[in-house]
Symmetry: C2
Subunit: 368 residues, 2 copies
């Protein structure tokens, strides 16, 4: 099989590396940046660099478009017009706009039959082919958005290829995909941005000094201001779904505001309890190994404590699913939250930490 | 000096332990839960348990009310009516409602002169006297909200006591305090709750399965559903300020929605860049040691890696200010984000991590 990759960054390079495990596969690659191509060859991510898109695609069975979201419609059109028997897919984080743009582009039906939108849920944490790794997609959801035009044979070829890369392909309607991404990814980015700006201006009229913040604020604004050029394009490409989610969110904020004004204590408490249940459901849907339990540890914040805990827990064979540090203002002490999968893991972790002499407890799902 | 603590949990117990460093101090304590009193005595947090509020307060110079927010008005009134020369303060996370309740309670002016609202920014991470520690307030901001009624002499006594506990007292108007807390603490909790519920329902109409989420979603919903009973009371006690912040937030969401509808790419990008600048200003206001730099590392997610990195960084004498793990879906690989203070620390960390063989980079404030 011949796989063509147009755009060799973190995702394109990782596809090339992961394709090594599919027997008898040759990978061709194109990137406007010669340095990216040179790195990709050195890493073994591509076998054959192409000088042009046409040269790279010649004889390809599967083509992955790994370019920025705003370059995808033009690139997809060019790849499809080159003809052949190649299934063309992409890895962009929004799908409807691209599919609509192709449908209204005047491309012939047999060209449109060869396109399947795609989106692997992996690799958002760093950019550049130097971060590429063969395991990037291992066990990851890889959304595919076939339409009624899609050739069944070509869809099956793409599906098999993605399984070969180690991912779990999952078919989803393009508009549902975009709504889901709007909620779990695009909306949190918008909220983080608005919150960071609102806090920076909160005291501007009354005081000189910015307020000291805390761990919940740090968590909530961690992605604020991330990659403005990329996020501008993602938000624009998914503007309808993001706009709808913003409106839903705004209406729910109004409902919370009304409960506050009315002083309805019972409704507020039920609302917070429901949010706790919803958060746990989402966490559990996310992760292998059963329910996730949070363990809180109170520690001095000197260098080496995180290492000591991680080593002890690692030696016991328990993997930490997620971790957050909550340093006190002096940076000399604080708390560590560890999320581990499975109740028995949590008990084991609790025991280990107490043996090391730190107070620790499982965070009660009903309390905090 | 004699310090009285009414309510011996994490905060009350830590005040008692920290008071050990103020020479010649005796600590009396009261709690409705006999087990809390027994633990506090065993830890050395209190010298003299009182059977009643009156007995505990007898002869006190400074009294800290460390009860739940909704119990504070009654407790403050009782403590002030007992007379004497004691300055009475509290540690609740909202201030205006309590001060207004006392002002309209019919208490005599010389009673009101003895009350100063207080709020240490510490200890939100766990509850219970077993987590109490002498260093909890070291270097922490401790807001004080004196009014025009407050006795200057008693305010100075309280101020000196809090400095003795290791904290940095900071005077702030009660309403400004409540607005600041609404923005940096109460609003993020509301947003996390709404986001968790919205995501859990995002696909309910269309699909059986909850969507897989990602690290930005996990960060944004970390505090969702935290301690419903406590947060119900905090939100109600600060309902005006939280309501106003919710409205401001809603209006800003509408502005973002309008920019999306108009497809104004430049305005969107400028808005994200402004959020980045605002986030950095807040981070730098927060932390000693200058600007905070984020270092991203790409690693296999096996037990021991966090330990290996932490040990190497700790041995170099660099303290990690904040940390986030972004595991890939397979839990076998992922990225680690480390926040360190100072550019030279970041360079040193980068060098160490690369020596260990992992790809790492400083997250460019202009990119991601």
């Amino acid at each position: 099989m011949r796989i063509s990759i147009l755009g060799v960054g973190l995702i394109g390079g990782s596809i090339g590396l992961a394709a090594r495990r599919i027997e008898g596969t040759t990978v061709s690659g194109f990137d406007p940046d010669p340095a990216a191509i040179a790195s990709a060859r050195q890493l073994g991510a591509i076998d054959e660099p192409g000088a042009t898109v046409a040269q790279t695609l010649a004889g390809a069975d599967v083509c992955f478009l790994c370019a920025p979201v705003n370059a995808l419609p033009g690139l997809a059109r060019a790849a499809l017009e080159l003809g052949g028997d190649c299934v063309v897919s992409d890895v962009g984080s929004t799908k409807s706009a691209l599919i609509e743009s192709l449908a209204s582009s005047g491309l012939a039906e047999d060209h449109l039959a060869r396109f399947v939108g795609g989106h692997p849920l992996a690799g958002a944490e760093a950019a550049g082919v130097e971060y590429a790794r063969a395991e990037l997609f291992e066990g990851a959801t890889w959304y595919l958005t076939p339409t009624e035009r899609t050739s069944g044979m070509l869809y099956e070829r793409l599906y098999r290829t993605i399984t070969g890369l180690g991912a779990r392909p999952e078919a989803i309607a393009a508009d549902l995909h975009d709504r889901v991404m709007a909620t779990i990814s695009h909306l949190p980015h918008v909220l983080a941005n608005v919150l960071a700006s609102q806090a920076a201006r909160a005291v501007a009229d009354d005081a000189e000094r910015l307020p000291a913040t805390g761990p919940s604020f740090r968590d909530a604004t961690r992605v604020a201001g991330a990659n403005p050029g990329l996020w501008r394009e993602i938000l624009l490409a998914n503007r309808e779904a993001v706009g709808a989610e913003l409106e839903r969110f705004g209406r729910e904020l109004e409902r919370v505001g009304a409960r506050l004004r009315e002083g309805d204590a019972d409704a507020l408490e039920r609302w917070i309890e429901d949010a706790r249940a919803d958060r746990r459901k989402l966490q559990e849907a996310d992760l292998p190994g059963g329910p996730v339990t949070e363990v809180r540890v109170s520690v001095p914040n000197r260098p080496g404590i995180v290492a000591q805990l991680s080593l002890a827990i690692g030696e016991a064979g328990v993997n930490i699913v997620d971790m957050a540090l909550y340093p006190a203002a002096d940076m000399q002490s604080g708390a560590i939250a560890l999320w581990v999968a499975g109740d028995r893991s949590a008990e084991r972790v609790l025991e280990l930490i107490r043996e090391l002499g730190y107070p620790a407890s499982v965070v009660d799902p009903g309390g905090e």
